[in-house]
């Protein structure tokens, strides 16, 4: 036992006291007015982690742990100002090697005459004073690792984040300290383990760089876990290539198959007795010895964690593998939780989608109901109007044919013509009414337009329809009542052919535009007739619905009920154009 004080110790503490303090494990040092340690005993150097030479006297507070330095700076300030004569603190922190420290600090003014501002500090290592054994210390460290990892695991429900935590906990020097770790996830359907993520250096050179870099950062495990969780992408690109899509078949007679089935760890040295499946995994990873730890939650295999010390060749202890198993079990529970969270999230998204569809369907049902009511109404009105029209028109025709009309012939002609027009409108309304009884279904919009054109050509029997069509080859699937839409498109084209085009021509085409099926009609008229066509169009598509033609009003309402629109395409210099658009059916709804 050393009881001889160094020169520096002599300068501030009596020799007999220095030896006694060293024996008791009590550190003592003096702080000058610049915050420099002007003298320190051996126990003090050990506690503060300073080197053993006398050179540590003269160390600035900046070079000792921050938690301790803060307290000492505060004590020096208060004692120097004469606010108090003594200050006592309790400090806990992890030292630069990640070991937990627990100290009592007592600071006193060295003199009371005011000539010197030297502060004497005493440090008591509580672990030593409580005679904490190495085993207990080791246990504490293990608990600290597990607690830090558990805290990190509970902070996320993202699988990738959780996997990073597991691998960091397994490989960090402040954690379990394995050189490399590989994570395989269980693919239940194919009963295989699929390589997912890995961490660690690929070579001794890389290890030197990585580890010295990490060492210089002086991070606690908690900080390192936090850092790695935040890091985007993979932790170790090169090593990840080794496991990416690498599959291990879970076979009953292999060591891997057995531990996955039993949920127990294995500390394995690769030799000739190892089964072929396990040996091929070791060969692929380039490992001579490895810890194999299944990740099991509630009896459900989630994956396999493989760790080794291939870089340092340090033997793998069973205790380390046991601890890795505890960590893996924690991780498995967190992964299960993440899976449940993900499932719940998926269900929520599905539910939202279903609710949205339900709302849309309700909307559609309301629209269909509305159309159905309109259909019934128009049908009833048509019936009520049909008989009087037939009778009035019929008698007018009869008198005209009899030649007895006399002076009233002109008026009877007008009556007969107007009755015929009214009957024609009535027929169109009845067509619409009949159409409203149809079912909704997916419809090829271009084919619908083509069919309407054929109908139009048929009804214009013999007359040349001056309409040129070009349909897109792209399928434009819309959803709705085929008969109603056919009726609406037909009326739209009929208007073009009969009222707008003569003596010109029209060009029609279908196309997809921003999630909608579009029918465009360009009236190719001469400069002289352009204004006239524009005015006709403006009158037909007037905002004032009472002045709109009934057939166009019904066609427009039909299109709007289907979520679309009809109208005039703008542009002064362009030929007068009409458009009809309908929402395209989503792929997912077909």
């Amino acid at each position: 036992m050393e009881t001889i004080a160094t020169e520096k110790e002599k300068s501030f503490i009596p020799k007999y006291l220095t030896g006694a303090l060293n024996d008791l494990g009590i550190g003592a040092f003096a702080l000058d007015q610049n915050g420099q340690i002007s003298g320190i005993n051996r126990a003090g150097r050990e506690i503060l982690g300073l080197d053993g030479s006398d050179e540590s006297a003269g160390t600035n507070l900046e070079h000792i742990h921050q938690n301790l330095a803060v307290n000492l700076t505060e004590a020096r300030s208060k004692l120097s100002n004469g606010h108090t004569h003594a200050m006592v603190y309790g400090v806990e922190y992890d030292d630069n090697h990640g070991r937990p420290q627990c100290l009592d600090i007592c600071c006193l003014r060295a003199d009371d005459d005011g000539t010197s501002e030297q502060i004497i500090c005493f440090l008591r290592d509580l672990r030593r004073s409580h005679r904490v054994s190495d085993d207990e210390l080791h246990l504490r460290q293990e608990l600290k690792i597990l607690s830090d990892v558990a805290a990190a695991l509970s902070s996320s429900t993202e699988l990738v984040q959780l996997l990073k935590v597991i691998l960091t906990g397994a490989t960090a020097a402040q954690g379990l300290g394995f050189n490399r770790a590989f994570l395989f996830l269980h693919d239940e359907r194919n009963n295989t383990l699929v390589g997912h993520m890995a961490v660690g250096p690929r070579s001794a050179e890389e290890a030197g760089d990585i580890w010295s870099n990490l060492d210089s950062m002086r991070l606690s495990l908690e900080e390192l876990l936090d850092n790695n969780q935040r890091k985007a992408g993979q932790l170790s690109d090169g090593l990840n290539e080794l496991v990416d899509d690498f599959r291990i078949r879970i076979e009953d007679d292999s060591a891997i198959g057995r531990i996955c089935r039993e949920g127990s760890w294995l500390n394995l040295t690769i030799d000739s007795s190892v089964d072929p499946v396990t040996a091929s995994v070791a060969r692929h990873l380039g490992a001579d010895a490895m810890a194999l730890v299944p990740m099991v939650s509630k009896g459900h295999l989630m994956g396999l964690l493989v760790a080794d010390n291939q870089i340092t060749r340090r033997p793998i202890s069973d205790e380390a593998v046991e601890l890795l198993q505890v960590l893996a079990n924690q991780a498995a529970v967190a992964m299960e939780r993440a899976r449940l969270y993900e499932t719940r999230n998926q269900k929520r998204i599905e539910l939202e989608k279903t609710n949205r569809l339900l709302a849309e369907t309700q909307d559609q049902i309301i629209r269909i109901e509305k159309m159905s009511v309109i259909g019934e109404l128009t049908s009833a009105i048509a019936h009520e109007l049909r008989n009087p029209l037939t009778v009035v028109g019929g008698f007018a025709n009869m008198i005209l044919k009899s030649g007895t009309a006399g002076d009233n012939q002109e008026y009877l002609n007008i009556i007969a013509t107007e009755i015929r027009r009214a009957e024609s409108v009535l027929n169109q309304v009845l067509d619409f009414s009949r159409a409203s009884k149809g079912e909704n279904r997916p419809i090829d919009f271009s084919q619908l337009v083509q069919r309407s054109l054929e109908l139009l050509r048929g009804r214009m029997s013999g007359k040349e329809t001056p309409v040129f069509a070009s349909m897109t080859d792209e399928p434009l699937i819309v959803y709705g009542n085929y008969e109603q839409l056919l009726h609406a498109v037909y009326q739209f084209l009929k208007l073009t052919a009969e009222d707008l085009v003569p003596p010109g021509e029209a060009e029609i085409r279908t196309e997809r535009r921003e999630g909608r099926a579009l029918l465009l009609i360009r009236i190719l008229c001469t400069d002289e007739t352009r204004d006239k066509v524009r005015k006709t169009l403006e009158r037909i598509f007037s905002q004032n619905r009472t002045s709109q033609r009934l057939t166009i009003l019904v066609a427009g309402e039909t299109i709007r009920y289907h979520g679309g629109n009809i109208g005039l395409a703008s542009g002064e210099d362009c030929p007068p154009s009409l458009y009809m658009e309908l929402p395209l059916m989503k792929e997912s709804d077909r």
Partner: protein, 125 residues
């Protein structure tokens, strides 16, 4: 001898129009205002063509049609209606012709003429 036409329609104006027009066209026309009246009259009298409305209050034309087919299966029936939807009703197939009501009575007269001629040809055979 004049061909006999029975008009069945609940609308008085239609009955008057058809009666006048068809009488002028040379037919002997009788008109009733309901399906039940039509069924009753054909049990005692023979007609060459029956022009039958569909929408009537007590018995619809479709229902009357099935009775008429049972009582006088050889008499041709023209369904004459304000609606176009009954064309899809398979029961209306029992009729010999289907015409929408119109102020232009030429199609109706043409149809009656065809059916009367067909009946005469059949009776000659």
């Amino acid at each position: 001898m004049k061909s006999r036409v029975l008009i069945v329609d609940d609308d008085e104006g239609v009955r008057a129009l058809y009666q006048t027009e068809l009488s002028q066209a040379g037919y002997e026309v009788q008109a009733v205002d309901s399906g039940a009246a039509a069924v009753s009259i054909v049990e005692n009298e023979k007609f060459d063509v029956i022009v039958l409305d569909i929408e009537m209050p007590d018995m619809s034309g479709i229902e009357a049609l099935s009775h008429l087919r049972r009582i006088c299966p050889e008499t041709p029936v023209i369904l004459n209606t304000a609606y176009n939807t009954y064309k899809q009703d398979f029961q209306s197939w029992l009729a010999d012709a289907y015409l929408m009501k119109s102020s232009d009575l030429e199609p109706l007269k043409e149809q009656i003429r065809k059916l009367v001629n067909r009946g005469e040809q059949l009776s000659r055979k």
